[in-house]
């Protein structure tokens, strides 16, 4: 297990290096000097300060040296400085990260619960009305853009029914109440964005779960389980689900990046103060250090999550563990 962890971490290093190099190439590809845009945006007009920036970013040096310097700084988790927030980029990212993580985890929880449940029911009741209904819903949510779904959910549940707030992460009034009240308040705000983001993945999981479950339920050991006198649902849950979950786990890792991307859009719909809102703000204001920082940072997160998923797989599938 530790050996695998070390191997996977080592494999991750060239990947991260690759992402950094790609990042660097993007900076080089920018039309005009990237410093010009940046200084214009942050209203730096003092030539001395501009020169200072030029040296900080090593613009006066040969390209390969700039690249090495860039890699070295990212290796120290130094993604540069954001003049817009007047903070180091890493700090800016870290400040937005918790909100995004909360949203992503809530969405994935919804996706897993709904998706797996729907997939299992559809597989067990295959070719019935239930199967057709669930498969139809899955196809529908698989095609609905999350931002649009978010708006429609808002129209229904926030505007028409008034059950939940339209946006934000916390009520302005609820500042000095207890921890529990704050948590409930956040959950109240979280419901719609998490649904908007989660339903798409629920659809994905439901489709995969249904197909896998159908396959698993036709395997020999399911017959053995039934021959033991176990009830239908016990067979499905204890024997079928345990095997059918494996592809879902893989999918979870593969899709972590797209969930992160999806949260950008959903966050802007609901004014959720996370990485997505930060990214959009930085893109609109051409705040390159933050944009590139988010790109590298999120790539690293995806790599780490995938390593974690590999380790989880190791625990779940004894056949892999043997190797």
């Amino acid at each position: 297990m530790l050996r695998l962890l070390r191997r996977r971490l080592l494999q991750g290093v060239p990947l991260i290096l690759g992402v950094i190099v790609m990042n660097f190439l993007l900076i080089q590809a920018a039309p005009g000097s990237f410093l010009d845009v940046m200084s214009a945006e942050s209203q730096v007009s003092d030539p001395a300060l501009l020169e200072q920036l030029r040296i900080t970013y090593g613009m006066d040096q040969p390209v390969w040296l700039q690249l090495l310097k860039y890699i070295w700084s990212v290796a120290r988790l130094d993604f540069g400085f954001s003049y817009r927030q007047n903070m180091a980029v890493l700090d800016v990212i870290m400040a937005s990260l918790p909100a995004t993580l909360v949203l992503m985890l809530a969405s994935l929880a919804i996706a897993l619960l709904l998706g797996v449940a729907a997939g299992v029911v559809a597989a067990v009741k295959v070719n019935t009305v239930w199967d057709n209904l669930l498969s139809f819903l899955a196809v529908l949510f698989f095609a609905a853009p999350s931002f649009w779904l978010g708006i429609m959910l808002t129209v229904l549940f926030a505007v028409k029914l008034g059950w939940v707030p339209v946006g934000g992460m916390m009520s302005i009034t609820a500042t000095n109440e207890g921890t529990l009240a704050t948590v409930l308040d956040v959950l109240h705000h979280l419901a719609l964005p998490a649904m908007a983001l989660g339903l798409f993945y629920a659809a994905v999981y439901a489709r995969v779960m249904r197909a896998t479950m159908l396959e698993v339920l036709s395997l020999d050991f399911i017959r053995t389980a039934r021959a033991k006198g176990l009830g239908r649902w016990r067979v499905v849950l204890a024997h079928g689900l345990r095997n059918a979950l494996l592809p879902i786990v893989t999918l979870f890792g593969l899709q972590f990046g797209t969930v992160l991307g999806g949260s950008i859009v959903v966050e802007t719909v609901f004014s959720w103060p996370g990485l997505g809102s930060l990214m959009l703000d930085s893109v609109s204001s051409r705040n390159y250090p933050v944009v590139l920082g988010v790109l590298v940072f999120s790539s690293i997160v995806v790599i780490l999550v995938n390593i974690a998923v590999d380790l989880a797989y190791l625990r779940l599938d004894p056949r892999i563990r043997a190797r």
Partner: protein, 281 residues
Amino acid sequence: MAGGTPGLFRRFARNRAALLGLVILLVVVGLALAAPTLYPRNPLRIVGPAELWPLQDPRFPLGTDSIGRNIAAIIAHGARATLLIGIFASLTATLIGVTIGAAAGWFGGWVDELLMRLTEMFQVVPGLVFVLTIVSILGGTVENITIAVGVVSWTGIARLTRAEFLTLRDREFVQACRAMGMPDWRIVLAEVLPNALPPVIVLSSLAVASAILFESAVSFLGLGDPQVASWGRLVGEGRTLIRSSWYISAVPGVAIMLMVLALNLIGDGLNDALNPKLRNR
């Protein structure tokens, strides 16, 4: 694509949902083609009262938006942009993916190793974050969005092509071509590639759907080309008016959903028709 062999189309048509998808796609294509005739003037000009609900005025069957533009015209012209970006992004992805996958599978060894690391690299970069980065640095033109979406969508195609090439590389007919002294590039282009393509076509058709979702997200965020009528942009513009006129967001969203739905259904149908063995991808 489906007309290649009659048997193929029959197998495709047996899937009712796929047929429905094809019908929806044809309607959208027809709409895109007819847009210049139906609405010859710029769809983004103001033509009537603002916030007119659908079915109120026969001139504006889908209503008007916040500043009095004809939603039906935007939908029709938006279909062009959506289709073009979707198709060209998918073509870009297919071109990159097939090239890289074919090279990796055919040459093997360190080439394979290198190209697969490259593929992994693109897999870990969150697609939308990458697209937004490109848009922010290079600008949100239709071309940039198309290429950026293509660049984030090719990894699955590359992996699949590589897998196909790996199995085809050692087949008898390829060995026979080698024995006959056929040059590598001819074997690849004339013998291996045509056999590797069917499953790839399925992924390419699904890539059109995901490209449309990418594009609509970029436009929704207001980072697309403001001169081009776009479904995603209209959803975004309608957002501020959800209390009074939520239909402005709803209508183009339904269009996006139907389009993506149609492409997914077609992809599933192609999958069943082209490679019965290859499911659940």
